[in-house]
Symmetry: C2
Subunit: 448 residues, 2 copies
């Protein structure tokens, strides 16, 4: 059955008030699909759709909707049901939902919840955004270090429905400190009365609640984990971050890198309203406008030179375009490399030397090429030399700027992507114009 | 203990030939860490390091190394041990290792392997790169539809050590066709003698062997799966793709998008040699050089205009820079949006209308702003008007080019990121120069 057919079938059961049949259909669907169908359902059927669903399913549905839709659904549910649904939602997802709401709205939503659950959510919301504390869920199975294997399996079984992943069980001591991890596979092949202490793996890879989510993703990616435990500064087990959230982090961080590298404005997607998108894009464009004015005033400083040899203007876009591009090329390599490499002085030194060598090679190739083109086009060997030497130098400067600036920002704990896209464009524009017109002015008497 | 301390400890056990102690240390380490320690070990200790490890551990180690290192390790192992290790490696990882080797080398590596295992690898290698067929592993647990719950649990237990994920079991019929999936959690709460048919979930989300890896990642991401089954065209279950590989795909695809959008050259990372990096970056730069020449020849076509009003050159970098940037902004939104949206005519129409509205807003704001700046700077209202109108028009053209071109490429089944980064830069450069100098030439008599 296609999704359209399923939707029609569901509408039929809603109209004819056939709850049993409705439940049979939904039983075979993934929460993502249910959410998709709900979103495309005519308004008038949505209330009964929600009425027909049980609380668990509504909680699953909510986790797949965007924020506006979530609030819309909660409004339709009424206060009492809302509390029950929120109790069942993953705490990390609930924290995201509550994040930007007004204090009154948050209080009213939390008021219907169990105290234990609402306390947990409020705790999560205290952690800074984009940290492990915000990602973590409390839906995991912990065991005590004195358990036997059979006791651990027993606990896992009774919590299986509740746990987000059953591949690992985390072992804590009497102070709730994380002391080990045991995989369910290990339990299956161990002797039933073996103490967990002997089976568990003691060198646990964990993150603290304040670890940046990018670092969490890097660990999960390199160790191929399905989940990673999150501990407090005192090593008390607070929750786990699961791989499904990690994938979202990886996508989000990649999008952020792209947004920043292309200066495309924060969080614009297909749904963003035109005025909002324009508002988010304008800052970069206005910044670029002023950068353009700076470039312009540099050129105007060489007005005499330009007046005498108008042909210099022909090569301006090429030189600044290529300098900008080589800078962006290096920048992209560095920014993405910082995501997945262990950075130390040695690595940085080798990287800078490598990029310097790269810039020499591309500088020589492109410099010679443009000299020949300029010579044959404009019939002036001096002009060819001026353009070629300028390009050679600006490519080296541009490449090194694109390499060194993001590294400096990284060292200063500033996200290298945020400032360096526009920063490198500006600097390279200015470097390239000054170099080009500077060299041209030196040779001006030979050029005329 | 820090990694350095561990390394020193390991070297000590190697020197003193204490295998038991060596094994105790390695027992507590993750494969990723073992690989990292191995890579940093002095050459002279590496052979004994490998000698001390059992076959299983060497297979785990290999999966964490890059290709050159992998071949180096295999050389040290000798033919017989190599065969055993390759038998144990994940088939998808082994296929990657073999991918670019010479046919003789492949044959020699495969010769030491069990026939059943080498057949599977050779089958995987027949699928095109970047498809589900290449990603999948055969290390999963399948059950027959007539099994009871207790039989399924029994099978899972005996294969637990072998399976990559134990959260789901895939159900096949007598023709090995995929007919259902059951989660281990469902098994734990079901009655032991219930037939699997009654417990399983029949609407299985699966991909075929030729599905693009980006699509596989999209499904796993949206459904929050830990693994997704891969079937043949006849729905025969061939393998599963697991979330740890999916994370790698997501990172790889994001890097590819960034490489393409920033024209930064394919697969350059911190380890790439300078000559290789230069060679990979040069094509874009040389392309840009010729694009620059095209722009230059357009400007040279307006030499008279420029000669008469040199001040026009001052605004050139600003206009082409901003047009290029607004194009890249739209491009980034569209390229990333295509990754995560369901695309249909309706969505595309709304997107184009949205971007048109965005371009009107930013065109008016930036156009008015630059008019005023140009007027106060150069003292000419006409020049202000020429620059302002040009910028208004080029921002609209640039935005729409950045929106429509990637969509057309997507419709033509060409990866929108691949062609459109440089393509849009070129087109926008040409559009903006022609517009700017065209308008300036129309007003040339008033400008002087």
């Amino acid at each position: 059955m296609t999704e359209n057919q399923i939707t029609l079938h569901i509408i039929k059961t809603l109209k004819e008030n056939k709850k049993k049949e409705f439940e049979l259909i939904l039983d075979e669907l993934q929460p993502y699909d249910i959410a998709h169908i709900y979103e495309n359902l005519p308004e008038k059927h949505q209330t009964r759709f929600l009425l027909f669903m049980n609380i668990d399913l509504i909680a699953d549905l909510l986790e797949e909707l965007n924020k506006d839709r979530q609030l819309e659904v909660l409004n339709k549910l009424g206060i009492e049901k809302t509390g029950k649904v929120l109790d069942l939602m993953d705490n990390d997802d609930l924290a995201v939902l509550l994040d930007d709401l007004s204090p009154e709205k948050i209080a009213s939503l939390l008021s219907g919840m169990k105290k234990s659950e609402s306390d947990i959510v409020q705790d999560i919301m205290k952690y800074p955004p984009e940290t492990a504390g915000r990602l973590m869920t409390n839906r995991f199975v912990w065991i005590r270090d004195y358990y036997t294997v059979i006791e651990a399996v027993g606990k896992l079984k009774s919590f299986a429905e509740f746990a987000e992943t059953i591949n690992y069980l985390y072992v804590i001591d009497q102070d709730r400190k994380l002391v080990g991890v045991v995989s369910y596979r290990d339990l299956l092949i161990a002797e039933p009365d073996e103490p967990i202490r002997n089976v568990m793996y003691e060198r646990v890879i964990a993150v603290t609640v304040t670890t940046d989510q990018e670092e969490v993703a890097r660990l999960v990616e390199k160790y191929d984990f399905l989940a990673i435990p999150v501990v407090s500064d005192e090593n008390v087990l607070m929750g786990i971050a699961t791989v499904d959230d990690i994938i979202d982090v990886v996508i989000q961080e990649a999008n952020e890198d792209i947004e920043k590298l292309s200066a495309s404005g924060k969080s614009i997607d297909f749904e963003t309203k035109a005025f909002v998108a324009a508002y988010r894009r304008l800052p970069w464009l206005i910044l670029l406008l002023f950068i353009g004015i700076v470039s312009g005033s540099i050129i105007s400083g060489y007005e005499d030179t330009l007046q005498k040899v108008v042909a210099l203007a022909f090569f301006m876009p090429m030189i600044s375009g290529m300098t900008g591009n080589t800078g962006t090329q290096s920048l992209a390599v560095v920014v993405r490399g910082l995501v997945s490499n262990d950075i130390n002085k040695n690595v940085i030194f080798r990287l800078i030397m490598r990029e310097f060598l790269v810039s020499l090679i591309i500088g020589i190739v492109c410099g010679v090429l443009i000299s020949l083109i300029a010579f044959f086009w404009q019939g002036s060997a001096i002009l060819g030399a001026v353009v070629g030497i300028s390009l050679f130098l600006t490519l080296i400067i541009g490449t090194l700027a694109g390499t060194i600036i993001p590294i400096i920002l990284y060292r200063l704990k500033i996200d290298p992507a945020v400032a360096s896209g526009p920063l490198i464009t500006t600097l390279n524009d200015i470097f390239s114009l000054v170099t080009y017109f500077g060299i041209a002015t030196m040779f001006i008497n030979h050029l005329m």
